[in-house]
């Protein structure tokens, strides 16, 4: 980890539970930005609602803590208004894959230059332990007393199916590795998903740090070709026995959404005033 990340530090103490995976994710986000030499005023961290979505409150950077499920839409608007900002979305599995599922699908296929970090703890934690879209089948929670019936969402496979150009999975217990993934995601010129396996030490004791440590392996150590869609599809479906972390898929050469908008060619919208009198007169003249 880099040493110079105090630029992003705040004196504020996070309200997360001791041992929460969010600490590792916060540390990785700050480290990635520092390593890439992005300053707090050049980044915009947009979150939803949930434990992990409090992250922007605990770091010094432009931030917007929005509504449950809506950070991708808010972030898209902000990115289109000022594409000079490095826009990072941080939200949980309920936020991204449940209530915000429609925005997730469409943001993936839209491909704006946004880094999407999902703190995937497979539980609704801030509401104290209900099953989430990524909760394993059979898990007993307060809203699934007989065990969860639905099959869990596989976020990385879903993103691939929607044509994602960058899909990675990290582990909150390995912040250094996670920082590397976030750096790649930020550098990727398009939508980049980093699904982060995150233990919830209070409401999801089954998927503990140890449980993950026994199963995860690093794709970069296996010779996995992240440019190969077929290979990506195969590793995306691995779970239970062996869980891959690292870059699952990275496609180069696809322009970001905003790079294809003629209206943005002269620069960010925020820097521009309205039309001149002459220009406006030309618009009006079409109604004669």
């Amino acid at each position: 980890m880099s040493d110079a990340r105090d630029e992003f530090d705040l004196a504020l103490k996070p309200t997360w539970c001791p041992g929460c995976g969010d600490f590792g994710i916060l540390s990785a986000v700050k480290d990635a930005l520092t390593t890439l030499a992005i300053s707090p005023h050049e980044a915009l961290v947009v979150s939803g609602i949930g434990c992990g979505s409090k992250l922007p409150d605990y770091m010094h950077a432009n931030g917007f803590m929005t509504l449950h499920g809506r950070p991708l839409a808010v972030a898209t608007g902000a990115k289109l208004a000022n594409h000079a900002l490095h826009v990072i979305v941080v939200d949980g599995d309920g936020d991204a894959y449940g209530i915000g599922g429609n925005h997730f699908i469409h943001t993936v296929r839209r491909n704006p230059d946004i880094t999407h970090i999902v703190e995937d703890n497979q539980i609704y934690a801030l509401t104290k332990g209900q099953y989430s879209p990524t909760t394993p089948q059979g898990k007993v929670t307060t809203t699934s007393p007989e065990g969860a019936i639905e099959r869990p969402v596989n976020p990385v496979a879903l993103a691939l199916a929607m044509g994602a150009t960058f899909v990675a999975r990290g582990f909150a217990g390995e912040p250094h590795h996670l920082s590397g993934l976030i750096q790649l995601a930020i550098r990727h010129p398009g939508y980049a998903l980093v699904d982060v396996l995150q233990p919830c030490v209070v409401f999801n004791r089954a998927q503990s740090y140890d449980w993950y440590r026994q199963r995860i392996y690093k794709l970069e150590e296996t010779g996995h070709d992240a440019r190969d869609p077929a290979a990506a599809g195969t590793v995306a479906r691995e779970w239970e026995e062996r869980i891959p972390i690292g870059v699952i898929y990275a496609e180069e050469g696809v322009p970001a959404y905003e790079a294809q908008l003629p209206a943005l060619q002269p620069g960010p919208l925020t820097a521009r005033a309205g039309p001149s009198a002459t220009r406006f007169e030309q618009l009006i003249a079409r109604f004669r």
Binding site: S39, E42, N62, G77, A81, I105, H106, A263, G274, P275
Partner: protein
């Protein structure tokens, strides 16, 4: 020669009713006539009866007028549906091949004028030009120079090349000649225009132009009748004007994108109808809490739920004022005319920036889609003011200072706003309650101070920016019609008719509905005589609001919720019922109203 002529064109969807009507409206406007043109259509693409009504007058008009003096019928059904709703001596132009009983029309005092429209179209061009033949015949009987219509057709078909233009013009001329020589004595003639150049546009385009003039750079929306033309217009000019027009995946995304863009510092908006606005309710509160300027246009249509997708209504007023949980400042505007749509289009952005809150503009289908002539001066660029409020240059802030307090507590409630992107202006905006520097807290003193700060913005807006009701007509009038939104046009004309008939009447119109201008409303209603609410909803929402905010109960309410716009005559008739002792008049389908559909259960 009449000074005010109304023409109704009816037929099946797909027969080119709308394009013929719009071409006629534009040709009239270019001759210097004042025009009001509106379409009556259904939620379907092909088949089913549609009609278009064009009113041409020598004086300014702001509503449609019934009954019309001319009916151009492309189907037998059109004749049947409209026969009882035409002016005495009205002419009915129809295709000679239709099985219409001319004798029966004569017997009703109408003037049947069959013209072989389909045959003329086929002989000089092709059968698909039957609507053009109709326009030619119309020009012939009402004495309107065909050259004006030709010029419009040339422009419309220009992209298709001369081989399309030529036969269309030939068809129009042949039909004109036939009609003019066969029916030279038709009494209802088109008035002569003053040849002054005017603009012809509908409320949605006026509102979009206002937004463009204000420097709106971002719109995200999801298609929904009758708001769609706003997004379409912005998309059409987006590339050349440097405006991002984003068709979002749903209305929640649309408003959230607009809020994101507004947060980043672009002037941003969304446009929808009631159903989409319902989906936006939660995000409205986000803009209120995070103090993000955003403009939300709700072009109302008949509700509830999917309701009447292609019909007009004004039933979202109380919803717009109250939508979203909790309490936060918001501003609600409701333009009444096309020029007011333009003004609301730019003014909404100033208010959003000045008070750092959501601004809702309520329009409706009738206002949004009716083409009206307006003087160029009412859409004048020079009249547009751009006020970005207390927007400060983040670069000028002292980076060594204690930290930027984005939500600083001030007397006005407005906190100086720096945009993200400057080292000294770094902050996070939460949808949670927060401190002055934007950190989440539930601390009791902070909560109370922040609520007061935010809500103070409504008082400040009320003091400095909100307009009281506008009075049209005499101060001492015995009757005052109290209305909002697009009812203004019909109400003003109704007041003039009543006054001419010995019942002095005025109109009180509320252009700004929230924060409610309590003092101005109270004062205006004190001298209102018999105050009668005129609204297109069931429950009298403005009347309720007035009572809630001023304690004044209106003396009568005229309410329509059939999805059809008020015609001035509807209001006059209803006022007489109020004068006769009824306090609530619910407009029933009757002679003055537009025809009830003969078909049931076909709308989607």
């Amino acid at each position: 020669m009449t000074s005010d002529l109304s023409i109704r064109i009816g037929g099946d969807a797909g027969q080119g009713i709308e394009s013929a009507g719009a071409a006629l409206a534009r040709a009239f406007a270019r001759s210097g006539l004042h025009v009001f043109a509106t379409q009556d259509y259904r939620s379907r693409i092909r088949g089913g009866h549609n009609f278009y009504q064009v009113r041409a007058a020598q004086a300014a008009v702001e509503a449609q007028r019934d009954p019309p003096e001319v009916l151009l019928a492309f189907t037998r059904e059109t004749v049947d549906i409209h026969i009882d709703r035409l002016a005495p001596g009205a002419g009915i132009l129809y295709d000679a091949s239709l099985p219409v009983d001319a004798g029966a029309l004569h017997a009703r005092g109408l003037a049947p004028m069959p013209v072989p429209l389909t045959k003329i179209a086929a002989d000089h061009g092709s059968r698909v030009m039957t609507n053009i033949a109709g326009l030619g015949a119309l020009a012939g009987v009402v004495g309107f120079p065909l050259a004006r219509i030709d010029a419009v057709l040339r422009e419309e078909f220009a992209a298709k090349g001369p081989e399309v233009v030529r036969p269309n013009l030939a068809v129009a001329e042949a039909a004109r000649r036939y009609a003019a020589t066969t029916y030279p004595d038709f009494v209802h003639r088109v008035p002569r225009g003053d040849a002054r150049p005017r603009l012809l546009l509908h409320g949605n385009h006026a509102l979009a132009l206002g937004a463009v003039a204000a420097g709106c750079r971002f719109i995200a929306a999801y298609p929904m009748t009758p708001a769609t033309t706003i997004l379409e217009y912005m998309a059409a000019i987006g590339a050349e004007e440097g405006i991002v027009a984003k068709h979002a995946e749903d209305e929640i995304a649309a408003v959230c994108m607009a809020i994101g863009a507004g947060f980043a510092g672009a002037r941003a908006m969304t446009a929808t109808s009631g159903g989409g606005f319902s989906l936006m309710a939660e995000a409205l509160g986000l803009a209120g809490m995070a103090e993000v300027p955003v403009v939300i246009v709700d072009v109302q249509r008949g509700g509830p739920s999917t309701g009447l997708p292609t019909r007009t209504e004004q039933a979202d007023l109380l919803f717009a004022i109250h939508a979203s949980q909790g309490e936060f400042p918001r501003i609600v505007l409701a333009p009444g005319t096309v020029p007011e749509c333009f003004e609301a289009g730019w003014r909404a952005f100033n208010l959003a920036d000045r008070y750092q809150c959501p601004v809702i503009v309520l329009s409706d289908l009738y206002l949004a889609g009716s083409l009206v002539t307006v003087e160029p001066v009412s859409l004048d660029w020079a009249s547009v003011e751009v006020d970005r409020g207390e927007l400060i240059d983040g670069g000028a802030l002292d980076p060594d200072a204690d930290g930027y307090r984005r939500f600083a507590i001030t007397e006005s409630g407005i906190s100086p706003r720096a945009l993200p992107g400057s080292p000294a202006a770094v902050y996070a905006a939460p949808s949670d309650e927060h401190t002055e520097d934007g950190h989440i807290t539930e601390e009791i003193h902070n909560r109370v101070a922040m609520m007061k700060k935010r809500m103070r913005k409504e008082d400040t807006a009320l003091r400095n920016s909100i307009r009281g009701p506008a009075r049209y007509g005499q101060e001492s009038a015995r009757i005052t019609l109290v209305c909002w939104g697009s009812t203004l046009g019909a109400a003003r004309e109704a007041a003039a008719l009543l006054s001419a008939d010995g019942e002095p009447a005025a109109v009180l119109h509320f252009p700004d509905l929230w924060p409610f201008p309590v003092e101005a409303a109270t004062e205006a209603l004190t001298s209102a005589g018999l105050a009668i609410g005129v609204e297109q909803n069931f429950t009298g929402q403005l009347a309720k609001l007035i009572r809630m905010m001023t304690g004044r109960q209106l003396d009568g309410r005229i309410l329509a919720y059939d999805g059809r716009p008020f015609a001035p005559a509807d209001i006059v008739q209803a006022v007489h019922r109020v004068l006769a002792g009824e306090s609530d008049v619910h407009i029933e389908p009757g002679e003055q109203r537009l025809p009830a559909e003969t078909e049931v259960g076909v709308n989607v």
